[in-house]
């Protein structure tokens, strides 16, 4: 009788998810305040993986920062290298060899394939589809990593792109192998989509979960697939036209609702566009030197490179969003200031807004759909 007349006394419960929780994508912690199972407050706690990357970069030559950028977002070593190379080229006025440009674009787009495939697998893992989609994703990823190893000597820590081009030309028959892989990729994507896109369980878990409204996405300076899933047409490859992206014919896929499902689907569509870019680039790639003479001189003797006083900001559309490198030179062989605008870090700041009102289990997949890598968040 009592329980009907008096409402049950409830209390908010604070739960710490992470930092070593398997689905927090690295050493990341979320302090969630729960009302029952509903999130009323969520505070991301970062900094567990801080490695002093920017400060280290200010004490070594420009070239020596490249292997460290591999370890920022360790899924996308090639495109991280690419971003830093662009900034250095702007700073020092280094010309890029034509073949180098193509090779860089090829590597960056292959990286996008790797990242989007893997993140989709991880997202499904978070959703409870344990193993299968992730292993399918990793099977394909491995084939591309194999290509990376053949070209650069390392699967993940490639350290391959350099100002002026790439460190060394790709080995014999590499382009043919890449072409074969790229041509076969749509078939894998079809299979992957057959597995996931129409799946009712996935739709129920993802649709209308973690909606990020357009205005909020813009105000929070979200970038990458997260922003485009909310329906904002902003792709740095198009708006900035850096490197040689203006030569290729591709579309920027957009979402409509901005929920987890849109983010998943935008990534699938983006991969299909990347395949298009790759096919064009592999067909058009010219012969010649893979690196310009000035770039080569810099590789051989990093300390001879003394850019004039000034600053430069180089940015790329990395698979996760806008990856920018800000460099200030004081005329010495080492940068005076070296800063990174990491897409994962900025995208993570709106985690709370997406999670409020959802259940705890949804937080995990919302986090998974943002696509973060802690190496980049904490630097």
């Amino acid at each position: 009788m009592n329980s009907q007349t008096h409402p049950i006394e409830t209390e908010l419960l604070e739960v710490s998810l992470g930092p070593q929780h398997p689905s927090t994508h690295g050493v990341f912690r979320m302090n969630a305040t729960l009302d029952g199972e509903t999130i009323v407050k969520l505070k991301p706690v970062m900094g567990y993986l801080h490695r002093n990357h920017e400060q280290i970069g200010e004490g070594i030559t420009y070239i020596a920062s490249f292997p460290f950028t591999d370890r920022l977002d360790y899924f996308c070593a090639m495109s991280n290298n690419f971003g830093l190379a662009l900034a250095i080229e702007k700073l020092g006025g280094i010309a890029v060899s034509e073949r180098g440009e193509y090779l860089r674009v090829i590597m960056a787009e292959l990286t996008r394939l790797i990242n989007h495939t893997a993140v989709t697998g991880f997202l499904l893992n978070d959703m409870g589809a344990f193993g299968t989609p992730l292993l399918y994703a990793f099977r394909e990823r491995e084939k591309i990593l194999d290509l990376f190893e053949a070209a650069s000597g390392s699967r993940m820590m490639c350290n391959y792109v350099r100002p002026g081009g790439v460190r060394e030309d790709v080995p014999e028959a590499w382009l043919e192998r890449a072409e074969k892989l790229v041509d076969g990729y749509p078939a894998f994507l079809d299979e992957f989509e057959k597995l996931l896109t129409e799946n009712e369980i996935i739709r129920q878990r993802c649709q209308h979960v973690g909606i990020l409204p357009k205005e909020l996405a813009i105000n929070a300076s979200a970038t990458g697939p997260l922003l485009r899933a909310s329906g904002v047409d902003y792709d740095i490859r198009k708006v900035d036209g850096y490197s040689i992206y203006s030569r290729f014919n591709f579309r920027v896929p957009l979402g409509t609702v901005g929920d987890v499902y849109d983010r998943y689907y935008v990534r699938i569509l983006e991969m299909r566009e990347s395949v298009k870019i790759l096919q064009q680039a592999l067909k058009e790639i010219p012969t010649g030197a893979a690196i310009s003479p000035k770039g080569l001189a810099m590789v051989k003797a990093p300390r001879t490179f003394r850019p004039p006083k000034g600053e430069a900001y180089g940015r790329i559309e990395s698979p996760k969003g806008e990856l920018g490198f800000y460099l200030v030179s004081d005329g010495t062989p080492q940068p005076y200031r070296y800063h990174i605008r990491a897409p994962s870090f900025v995208n993570l700041t709106i985690l709370e807004d997406m999670c409020l009102g959802h259940k705890v289990a949804d937080v995990i997949i919302i986090l998974g759909s943002i696509d973060i890598v802690m190496g980049e968040v904490d630097r």
């Binding site: 020596a64 920062s65 099977r139 190893e149 080995p171 597995l195 799946n199």
Partner: protein, 185 residues
Amino acid sequence: MIGIGVLRGMGVTFKTFLETYPWGRGLLRALRIPTTNGLVTVEYPDVKQQHHERFRYFPFLVYDQTPDNLRCVACKICEQECPPACIHIIGPAKDEQGRPAKAHGRTYPVEFDIDISVCMSCRICVDVCPFDAIEMDNQYELSGFDRFGQMVFNKDKLLKPNDYFQRIKPTEAATVDARLAAKKK
């Protein structure tokens, strides 16, 4: 209809399951379904993967013919450029009067240590060495229990003959040899 998507997905899983068995592949072929070899992993350490020629893991020092004929002249450029600063060189060697000692017409390092637990396999030391004295090895089973005894490689452990370099990286070694021959002339 609800559930069709799930069933289709299971079809994909089932096909992949069949592809991992010879009889399964046979069955798929009999049904005229395109199939691939579904076995993509190897059972390390019983089976080892074939690495690409450029695969790099840890640097070594090259010598020609005899170990005292090493190419390194102890110029210390690699020590200076190594991003995590894991190379440590003492030298060049001096004779009793304090003049640079020479072996085979070159100065040489007294000590040359690289810490493998700090090295990040970046290959920058190879890029900057003006004498092609240091190259990347593809040995990767280097774990050990002793931090300083096993993880810090000294000169003796780092020195490997040019023949070895020729064997693991024929293309690169050939270009290096051609370059060195051109320099001698």
